[in-house]
Amino acid sequence: MSDDAISDYYSDEEMEYNYSDPEQDGDDADLENEEEEDYAQFTPAVLGKRPLPWEVEYESLEPDKLREIVNKDVEHVAGIFGVEPEIARALLRHYKWNKERLIEQYMDGPERVLAAAGLPAQSGLPSFSNSRSLAATKKPATKSKSFSCPICASTQPGESAMALPCGHTFCSECWEMYITSKIKDEGECDVRCMEEGCAIRIPTAWMKKLLDSHTYARYQELLLAAYVADNRNFEFCPFPSCDLTVMTPNFSPTPSALSTTVPTVHCGHGHTFCFGCGEQQDHRPLICAVVKMWLRKCADDSETANWIKSNTKECPKCVSTIEKNGGCNHMTCKKCKHEFCWVCMGPWTEHGTAWYNCNRYDEKAGVDARDAQSRSRASLERYLHYYNRYANHEQSARLDRELYAKTEKKMEEMQIASELTWIEVQFAKRAVDELVRCRTTLKWTYAMAFYLEKNNETIMFEDNQRDLERAVEELSELLESPIEPMTITELRSKMTNLTVYVQKRNEIMLNDTAQKYQDGAWIWNVSVPDF
């Protein structure tokens, strides 16, 4: 896998991505010529095996690799414009790494683009020839005489005076303090001249010269972070202290893309996360927007309110909440002493002689109150049905660490009990891997089912879910079963078969849901906002 191939592939993708983005049309024609050479080298194999239809292609990048890709972009633009890479980098940063828009606008009027990006005019423009002068550290007029810095008001030898091409002169110590505070305190990598209202950008050469190594390293980090933040096809791994970046050349997480695709990716350190919402797990088959809704619902106390609604009543007079914990239906509110009937909620006095029972079921107010209560009770039960199953699979998947340890022990036992080699007992570990994966899928299918409108698609969905769940539980049970030397070969083939079956069921589940997202066949029972 050569570096060139990846980068070319990437820039090629930038073009494709443009086609699908209505905001940025109109520059593809120019681009096709630019990229033709690259296109010839295009090799789909660079990203490994062909992905399954519901997966997105991605690649995990080491920080150095990412830096290389950035530099490639910079050099590409520098080559076209005939400017220093430094200038190209600043321009790209100003254009949020949208190469196509930059190229188009730069061709129209380089001076305007340069000024907007806070760069000095390049000599020899617009002929893209020998304009490689970066007049960054132009010395102010006071050279070699002493000068007084307007910030610290100290008189200093002329050498310490520094000015950008805009001519605003300050001493090197004040510049250093200013740039350091911008980078360290504000986390800003686009540092402009100190003078109020002056937009001239401070070149990297200055950073290198003025900053201590720690701050300079931070500056480099910020530059990379800005690249990843501006570029929709890149995302940092959200796991703590993981420094890898994931690139999805064919996929940009736009709201419309995320309403049909769940872009689950794995970084090179084995962390699984969603490229769209950053959720640190594989939440297929449920799309990001609904995952967010579900997690919020589970976290907030809307269900507490539901419990209160279905298990308590309010005093008809003072509306204090009352939970009936026993006794007869003749209630006396503790607060306002109002006497009422728990069954019909009417005043107790109307019950006349019919003490201790209520025969007034037909009264309208009572019927309404009972209906409302049974509705909220049904809604609570529905939620709990799905939540319990969701939570159960989550819990089981969380125990996977334990299961891995247990399985490893079991694999050792198997080796002792049979003639099998370590390689040959790997089937148990594969079974656990698959089990964990399928439990995660199952978990999200319950969250998904909660939000699905009941129709034929849902019935099929639930059938798939049931098949998968049954297979998963069977495999789970098999993993728990004791090892007998006699039956170990049988166990092995059974477990291997079941693992393959479970894997198949999971694929069917994911395939089916992904297909129906594409067809727009899923109907939610709530309105789903754009992610």
């Binding site: 002493s146 610290c152 008001a153 008189t155 030898p157 303090m177 200013y178 505070s181 100190m194």
Partner: protein, 177 residues
Amino acid sequence: MLGGSKKTQSSTALRRLMTEYKQLTTHGAPDGMFTAGPISEDNFFEWEALIQGPEGTPFEGGVFLARLTFPTDYPLSPFKMKFDPAIFHPNIYPNGEVCISILHTPGDDPHMYELSSERWSPVQSIEKVVLSVISMLAEPNLESGANIDCCKLYRDDRSEYERRVKQMIREQLGITE
């Protein structure tokens, strides 16, 4: 020449304050709208400013006293400005402290709507800040109110606001009706 010697923060601040004082006394403020200087030459970190109410505003005719307190890392950090006695204005806290974006460092933005270009930077100066405060007297910024009652009055009942301001000026100048 001091070149080469490592400057300490407070000596930088002192040098800068002396330079600014010198400039203010030799050139004076534009249109003589204010005067400013250290309360005592022993302590350059406490200044006093006398500000004239801008013409054509309810503050016309008033003279306001403000205290400027400088941090030891001036000009990296901004100074504080407090009117004494306090004046009735939407952007001045009831204790007299001035709330203006040019006196906020880029890092702290309690309200999240100030542009970092409007904030304090070491190239600002006492003169620029006081001039900004004077224009703020003329045109309050209701988006970042410091005195909420005054903001409401300014928005809902402009003539009552103007009456209150004029009354305050008379009281501060000791003129009784």
